[in-house]
Amino acid sequence: METQAITGEKPKAAEKWRRHLLPVGLSFLLLLNILVFMEHLGLEIVSRYYKGILILSFINIVLAVSLNLINGATGLFSIGHAGFMAVGAYVSALLSLNMGRWGFLSPQLQTFIQFPLVLFLGGLAAALAGLVIGIPTLRLRGDYLAIATLGFGEIIRVVALNLNITRGARGITSIPNHTNFWWAQLFAVLTVVIIWNIVHSNHGRAMVAIREDEIAAEAMGVNTTYYKVLAFTIGAFFAGVAGGLFAHHLSYISPKSFDVLKSIEILLMVVLGGLGSITGSVIAAVVLTALPEVLRFLQDYRMVIYAGALIILMNFRPQGLFGRAEADLAVLKALLKSRAGEIVKSRSEKRGGNGGSA
């Protein structure tokens, strides 16, 4: 209350804006869904090109939000996220290519079961990699951890470049392109909901405590080793899922797709959105995916403007777009409550026998 009084009107405006963010975002998503669904009714409104951008946005949301759990919530500065993504991408792609045809199911139904399964397994493989990298690097802090994770990402890339099964620099081609708008959206929403629920729970509070002060956290009964390893593992799992989506979207992956630049790109989304803000990560992921496409009309100057925009933004808002703030769920909660209230009301009315004329 006091801080508001001191800084005057501005935070209030920000509060208002945050309150409207969720309803606006959800309505926008709903509209997109309707537009994309039109194609099943024979009316293609959203072209393949735009759908491609949307799918990439969803994949990037998964990547950014999962990295935010590691970097933002737990405060472990990791820049090897593309490595986990690569593990998920290769594992799921190879599984998809080698699972063959299940005779007892129709092709559509097989995809419907096989694709999430393959993504899940890719995620598990990446989670295992997260566990393996997490345990030895736990003693490292700050810059040192960043360097170690950077090294890990490079190791994955070089291994993929040299193994036979990953077909080296040629990469894996003709991966079935199962990733469509619906799958990508489903996994993006699942990731956001799951990570949101983790962060806003006792477990998430333990992770945030590690970010704030590891020694105090330990003295307050937080098992810091456990939560650090787990943050790594969960983040890696979702990065692996995103890798699977990515592989089945482009139907081609090579070690080049998962180099340091990819890691930096994901990190950029998290930092730009605000370390520790899931809302920020989601919005930054969408903006940074769309921006290079929007700027296409500038042709050769595209990347210059893109980089310039980033520099200006970081200059004026070093804490990122959202800092640590989140979208306000109050509207959603109120909506759910009023719904529940109506249901209860109508039920009691029925029971009372007053009739439900309205």
């Binding site: 629920n197 729970s201 945030v208 002060d213 105090a216 307050m220």
Partner: protein, 259 residues
């Protein structure tokens, strides 16, 4: 039976013997003071007791179990809470969240409960919030629950640290210079507060303090540490008159107090 029993504790950092041959026994409900000049090893003793440092020699028994070498968070869960000499709050979080973090194990729910928001999630969250608020209530901080911890005034930050330590339901509370940086008025309030805590929660307290008037008024038993060794132990009266203590540490203080 003693609540805490420390036998022959020793720890050296390179050539510096920070603690050597330290013995301590605290009975349930006692309020013991640990004093000594700067660098005498008081905080090191705290850090060993809470598991931040592993002792090179000696054993620690708490509530009948051997806790030597246990990791920090396990010791905390067995019932030793602590505060820090230089306040270590979770600065960017709200006052309430600071205390909630320390209630990690007041209400436990699994990952599944958290992810799927089951009924037990909401029940335990409610329990944790109520418990945390009740801890803040003790210090009259409940109305500031939503504020960011670093924005609190200094004295309240110290109180919040104690509230946070209490949230873990400790049997033994270790206070590391709770009056540091407080003015005389605040120190008197703190004195009352510590007495009240001890009475209301049947806490056992071990405290490090430089403010002699506070220690002398509050503690029943005082240990004096110098160069890692216990040089005296006894009631405030005995300590005040102990020539070794006066020599090591209290000489000027006593004459100051007499002034």
């Amino acid at each position: 039976m003693a609540l805490l029993k420390v036998e022959n504790l020793s720890l050296a950092f390179g050539g510096l013997r920070a603690v050597s041959g330290f013995n301590l026994e605290i009975k349930p409900g006692e309020l013991v003071g640990l004093i000594g000049p700067n660098g005498a090893g008081k905080t090191t003793v705290f850090n060993i007791l809470t598991g931040f440092y592993q002792p090179q020699e000696g054993r620690i028994f708490f509530d009948g179990t051997d806790i030597t070498g246990l990791s920090c968070y396990k010791i905390n869960r067995l019932g030793i809470g602590r505060t820090f000499q230089n306040i270590r709050l979770f600065n960017e979080l709200t006052v309430l969240d600071n205390v909630k973090i320390a209630c990690q194990y007041a209400g436990r729910y699994s990952w599944r409960d958290a992810i799927f928001r089951t009924k037990s999630f909401y029940r335990y969250e409610q329990e944790i919030t109520d418990w945390a608020l009740s801890r803040l209530e003790i210090f009259n901080l409940a109305h500031k629950a939503g504020e960011i911890a670093k924005n609190l005034p200094y004295g309240e930050q110290r109180q919040l640290e104690i509230a946070r330590a209490l949230a873990g339901r400790p049997k033994l509370l270790l206070l590391d210079e709770p009056a540091a940086g407080m003015n005389p008025q605040e120190t008197v309030e703190l004195l009352e507060l510590i007495r009240r805590l001890r009475r209301d929660f049947s806490l056992t307290i071990l405290l490090i303090e430089h403010d002699m008037s506070l220690v002398m008024k509050l503690c029943e038993r005082i240990l004096v540490l110098d160069y890692g060794k216990t040089i005296a132990e006894g009631s405030p009266e005995e300590i005040r008159n102990n020539p070794r203590v006066i020599e090591a540490y209290l000489g000027e203080e006593v004459s100051d107090a007499d002034r």
